[in-house]
C-alpha cells in the first residue's frame, strides 16, 4: 500500500484526494431524485423505501401469477423502485397497465394490447399528481437495456402465458419512466400566536407556519419560490396578493413575504416552514368588540417548485386579532419655569403631543393633582389650564380637574398607517399663580388616560 502511494506524485495524490472529496460532496449534497426505474424478483419488497409490488408469482419460472394486492402466499414478488412516488395503483397519475391477468390469483398473463382478453390488471403509476411524466411498457425479444430502463419478467407468449424471471422466456416485459413535475403540496398552515395580541410598538412578530412537500425532492423546495400572506379574511387572499380590491391596505390588513425560514430539515421531500411578519399596532382587530367581529386573520402560502408547478393552502383554524388600546406621548413633563404670584403664563404655552398607538378609536382623558411645595403649601388643580390650540391665558382653555373626575381631552380615531398626523393631538398648557402664593418650587403630576371608545 505504501509503495502504491509512493508511486504517485504529490500532485496525483492531491488530485485523487480532491476528486474523492468532491465526489462525497456531490453524493451527499446533491441527492439524485430523478432516479431510474429498477425492478427485481425478490421475496420482500420494502415499501418504506419506496418500492412497490407490481406482480406476484408462484415460482421464478413456468409460474402462475397474482395481482399485486392479492392475498395468496406467493413469495416471488416483482418489486420495482428507484423512482420517487412510484405506485402500483391502476388509477394513479400516468397509470399504465403492465400486464393483464386471467384471474386475481393462480392466473395466466398477457401483454397490454388494445384487444386484451383478460380484465385483471398489474399496473405502474405515480402516486401524486403533477405535470408531464410518462410510464411506458414494452414487450420485446431484445434485452430491455435497448430502449427501456429495466426488465420486469419474461413471458412465454403474448397471451395465455406463464411467467418467469427476465431472460428465461423469449419475450421480455420492459418498462421505462420519465418523472413528472409533481405539484407541490402545502399543508397545515397556521398562525402563531393565536389569538394575536399586538404587544409591541410599532410592530409585533406574528408567524405563518406551513408544511411544504414536493415529491421531486428537497432541491425543488430549496430552489422554489414562495409567497406568504397574512391578511384579514374579508380582504381575501387574491386582493392581498394583487394589492387591490376589498379595501386591502398594506400593514393595515395585508402582509406579504417572498421567503420563508425552514423550521425543520427537509426530510423525504417535506419541510416545515415559518415566516415572521412585523405586524403594526394599527392592524385591524377582529375580536367580538371590534369593527370586524365576523372576520378572522388568515394565512395563505403559495409555493412554486423548481419545475414551476404550484401548490397553495390557507390556514383552516380561525385566528383573532385582539383590540389594542394605546397611546404615545411626546413629552414626559411640563416645565412652566418661574412665575411670580398674581401672574400667569400669558401666551407662553407648554405643549405635549398625544398619539393613538392602538388599533381602535380612543378617548384621551386628562386629570391632575394639586401642585405641592416641600413646605406643604399647594396650588389648586385648576391652576393649570389646557387647550387643543395655542391660547393666551386663560382664553378658551379648560381648567384641569382632579383625578377623580377626568375630562375628555380629545377623541383620536383608529390609525390606518404610520403617517400619524391625523391621529395625533397637540395639547397646550398654561398656569395661573394666585396672588399671595408663597415663593417655592411646586411639583405635581398630570395623568393622560386612554379609554376605549366603543
Amino acid at each position: 500500500m505504501i509503495s502504491f502511494i509512493k508511486g504517485f506524485s504529490r500532485v496525483n495524490v492531491l488530485f485523487l484526494f480532491s476528486a474523492v472529496v468532491i465526489g462525497i460532496f456531490v453524493f451527499f449534497i446533491f441527492p439524485v431524485f430523478a432516479g431510474t426505474l429498477s425492478c427485481v424478483v425478490t421475496s420482500t419488497c420494502a415499501s418504506s423505501s419506496g418500492s412497490v409490488i407490481v406482480l406476484q408469482m408462484a415460482s421464478t419460472t413456468n409460474s402462475h401469477s397474482e395481482v399485486p394486492n392479492g392475498t395468496s402466499n406467493y413469495t416471488n414478488l416483482v418489486c420495482c423502485s428507484g423512482v420517487p412516488g412510484l405506485s402500483n395503483s391502476c388509477s394513479g397519475y400516468n397509470a399504465t397497465t403492465v400486464l393483464y391477468l386471467s384471474n386475481t390469483t393462480n392466473a395466466h398473463v398477457e401483454e397490454n394490447t388494445t384487444t386484451h382478453y383478460y380484465s385483471n390488471q398489474a399496473c405502474l403509476s405515480f402516486a401524486a399528481p403533477g405535470s408531464g411524466g410518462n410510464i411506458s411498457v414494452g414487450y420485446q425479444t431484445a434485452s430491455c437495456t435497448t430502449g427501456f430502463d429495466t426488465a420486469l419478467i419474461s413471458l412465454a407468449s403474448t397471451t395465455n402465458s406463464h411467467a418467469a424471471v427476465s431472460s428465461t422466456y423469449p419475450l421480455q416485459v420492459c418498462a421505462k419512466t420519465t418523472l413528472p413535475n409533481y405539484y407541490p403540496v402545502v399543508s397545515a398552515v397556521s398562525i402563531s400566536p393565536n389569538p394575536i395580541t399586538l404587544t409591541g410598538y410599532p410592530t409585533t412578530p406574528v408567524s405563518v407556519n406551513a408544511a411544504i412537500t414536493d415529491y421531486n425532492g428537497c432541491t425543488d423546495i430549496t430552489g422554489g419560490t414562495t409567497t406568504i400572506m397574512l391578511y384579514r379574511e374579508g380582504v381575501t387572499s387574491s386582493s392581498c396578493l394583487t394589492g387591490s380590491g376589498n379595501g386591502v391596505s398594506t400593514n393595515l390588513n395585508c402582509y406579504t413575504a417572498s421567503a420563508f425560514t425552514a423550521s425543520s430539515s427537509c426530510v423525504n421531500s417535506s419541510i416545515n416552514t415559518t415566516t415572521t411578519f412585523g405586524v403594526y399596532y394599527f392592524a385591524q382587530a377582529t375580536d367580538a368588540s371590534s369593527s370586524y367581529p365576523s372576520d378572522t386573520w388568515n394565512g395563505t402560502v403559495i409555493f412554486k417548485g423548481l419545475g414551476n408547478a404550484t401548490g397553495s393552502a390557507d390556514s383552516n383554524v380561525s385566528t383573532s386579532l385582539q383590540t389594542v388600546l394605546a397611546m404615545t406621548i411626546t413629552t414626559s413633563s411640563l416645565n412652566y419655569g418661574s412665575i411670580a404670584a398674581g401672574y400667569n403664563t400669558t401666551s407662553t404655552n407648554q405643549t405635549t403631543g398625544v398619539n393613538n398607538a392602538g388599533n381602535c378609536t380612543t378617548t384621551i382623558q386628562v386629570a391632575g393633582q394639586t401642585l405641592l411645595a416641600s413646605s406643604g403649601v399647594s396650588l389648586a388643580v385648576s391652576s393649570q389650564r389646557w387647550n387643543t390650540s395655542a391660547f393666551i391665558f386663560p382664553g378658551a382653555s379648560t381648567a384641569l380637574t382632579a383625578s377623580s373626575s377626568p375630562v375628555t381631552l380629545v377623541v383620536l380615531t383608529a390609525p390606518t398607517s404610520t403617517a400619524s398626523s391625523s391621529y395625533t393631538q397637540t395639547t397646550y398648557w398654561g398656569l395661573q399663580v394666585s396672588s399671595g402664593t408663597p415663593m417655592a418650587t411646586y411639583n405635581g403630576s398630570n395623568v393622560f388616560s386612554t379609554v376605549w371608545h366603543s
Binding site: A288, T319, L325, T328, I329, S332
Partner: protein, 299 residues
C-alpha cells in the same frame, strides 16, 4: 446620477418613516381594553389575560402601577388580579400580562354589572409637572341562567412519533361558553407518504378531555390503529365532530422516526404493564410465602 437620486429618495423615505416615531417619550396601552363576560352563571369562574404595554425611552427603573376598580358591589368583590391591585412592572419589560379573575358566587343575583378598571402608572420623569399615563379596561358582566355554547379549535398539529407508536394529534380547544365541552367523536385516516393510498382508518367515539367553561385546554389524542407504522413519512387526516357536525379537521404530513432501545423498552412496558404488574405481585406473594415458611421451620 440615477443611483444618487435613488439613494436620496430612499434616505428621505427612511427619515420620514423614522421621524414619525422619534418624538415618542412614553407609550402605554392595554390589550384587550375590555372584559366582556356576558354569559356568566352563578358559581362560574372567568379568567382573562390583559397585556399592559409600556414603553418609555427614559425608563431605567421599575414602573409602579396602581389599579382602581370602579364597579359597584356585589360585583366589586368578585374581581381579583393575580398580581394584586398595586404592582410593579420590572425595568425593561414592555409587555406585562395580568390575569383578571371574575369569581361569581353560587348565590349571586342574576343581572348586569358594569364598570371599569383604571390602570395608572407612576410618572417616570422629574420636573415641575410630570406626566403619568393610564388606561381603562371596560368591564361588562352579565349573570344569567342560560346555557351558552361557544367553542373553537385554534390549533391542530400532528407530532412526529417513533416507529411502532400510534399516530397522535395535538389539539387546543378554546371553550368560550359557560358549560363544559368536549368532542363527541373523531375519525383518523392514515395515508401513505404520497397521500394517495389509505393505509388505515379508525374512529374514536369517546374519551376526549373535557374543557372547563371560559378556558382553553391543550392535549394530545392518540389514535390506535391495526397497522404498524414503520420509519417513514405519512399523511394523516383527522376530523373532529360535535353534535354530528364537523368542528375541525386537518390534513398534513408527519414523520415516523427510528425508535431507540429505551423507546422500545418503554413502549413494551406500556403495552404489557398488566403482565409486569401480575409478575411483580406473584414474586411478592412467593417471596412472602418463603419468608413465612423459613420462619416456621426456624421456630
Amino acid at each position: 446620477m440615477k443611483k444618487v437620486i435613488y439613494f436620496f429618495f430612499l434616505g428621505l423615505g427612511i427619515f420620514a418613516m423614522s421621524a414619525a416615531h422619534t418624538n415618542v417619550a412614553q407609550a402605554f396601552g392595554i390589550s384587550p381594553p375590555f372584559l366582556n363576560a356576558v354569559h356568566l352563571v352563578p358559581g362560574a369562574t372567568y379568567v382573562q389575560t390583559v397585556y399592559i404595554l409600556a414603553q418609555d425611552q427614559s425608563l431605567n427603573a421599575d414602573l409602579p402601577v396602581q389599579t382602581t376598580l370602579n364597579i359597584p358591589e356585589p360585583a366589586r368583590s368578585w374581581i381579583s388580579i393575580d398580581k394584586g391591585f398595586n404592582f410593579v412592572i420590572p425595568k425593561g419589560t414592555q409587555q406585562f400580562p395580568i390575569e383578571i379573575t371574575v369569581q361569581v358566587p353560587k348565590d349571586a343575583s342574576l343581572g348586569i354589572y358594569q364598570g371599569n378598571l383604571s390602570i395608572t402608572t407612576a410618572p417616570s420623569a422629574t420636573g415641575q409637572v410630570t406626566i403619568a399615563l393610564g388606561a381603562n379596561i371596560a368591564i361588562n358582566l352579565s349573570v344569567g341562567n342560560d346555557i351558552y355554547e361557544k367553542y373553537s379549535v385554534p390549533l391542530i398539529t400532528f407530532p412526529d412519533i417513533k416507529e411502532g407508536e400510534d399516530p397522535q394529534v395535538y389539539v387546543k380547544f378554546q371553550n368560550d361558553g359557560n358549560v363544559p365541552e368536549s368532542f363527541d367523536s373523531a375519525t383518523y385516516e392514515l395515508l401513505d407518504q404520497y397521500g394517495g393510498t389509505r393505509l388505515a382508518y379508525t374512529q374514536k367515539n369517546g374519551g376526549f378531555p373535557v374543557t372547563k367553561p371560559f378556558s382553553m385546554n391543550a392535549y394530545t389524542i392518540e389514535f390506535p390503529l391495526d397497522f404498524y407504522l414503520g420509519i417513514g413519512q405519512y399523511w394523516g387526516v383527522v376530523t373532529f365532530y360535535k353534535s354530528g357536525q364537523v368542528v375541525a379537521s386537518q390534513k398534513t404530513i408527519f414523520n415516523v422516526l427510528k425508535a431507540t432501545f429505551a423507546d422500545k423498552a418503554i413502549r413494551f412496558v406500556e403495552i404489557y404493564w398488566v403482565f409486569f404488574a401480575v409478575v411483580v405481585v406473584l414474586l411478592i406473594v412467593v417471596g412472602l410465602y418463603f419468608i413465612r415458611r423459613r420462619k416456621k421451620l426456624n421456630a
